[in-house]
Symmetry: C2
Subunit: 145 residues, 2 copies
Amino acid sequence: MEQRVTLITLGVSDLARSKAFYEALGWQGQEVQETVFFQAGGLGLVLWGREKLAADCGIEPGPPPAGFGGIALAHNVRSEAEVDELLATAEAAGGTVTKPAAVNDIGFYSSAFTDPDGHAWEIAHNPDFPLADDGTVTLPDFGQA
Amino acid sequence: MEQRVTLITLGVSDLARSKAFYEALGWQGQEVQETVFFQAGGLGLVLWGREKLAADCGIEPGPPPAGFGGIALAHNVRSEAEVDELLATAEAAGGTVTKPAAVNDIGFYSSAFTDPDGHAWEIAHNPDFPLADDGTVTLPDFGQA
């Protein structure tokens, strides 16, 4: 299995609401039947109804998680000011700030919000994870491999 | 907000078990304190204890989801034979096949498994989503944007 991801699909309860949320963050996507596809770097981020997505994976949908769903996405930016700006945009768009921006235990500036379905995004400026011009990240050699 | 993802972090209940699972799929990562970092194309895929990850996002962990956690990852490959091969590898590694490989309603060959914590991976060969040599995908113009 090559070390890569082709699509990240977020199960949503209201496609129009979620599409509007990501558009308010500045993303542009394509609505295709009952999904929305966003090009996100070298992969696709997709919105699809939670129950249909679960069925497509062959998994019982069950109730939406009462707490944390189990996966967090991170979006690193190039400055602390960008963290603040993006967090404010997400909040204005209807996201919930779950962790106000602050320097964390590891020493970098970090925050988090959830989208309308509770999907978690960490927004951080971490100089130890430098971003290329195209936004990709090459993990540092932690020296413990 | 640029249209890209820096990290995908999977909350896990047993770091060693999850690390062994992804290594059995052929991935190589770096264990750093209580996490494992895998370079996955232009982003990082990370394993971290579920409760610590939730806390880092400022979210009540709650119990692990009884059903679907709400997010699915997809890994597209270049042939139907590769789908079969990867699914067999995942099953042998301790994954659970939740959708046997078959041509789906849309017309491409698709399957799904869950990792030891129930995180869903769809494994598919979809000629409409051609992969570049480096494994990145550029979404087609669906003609409905």
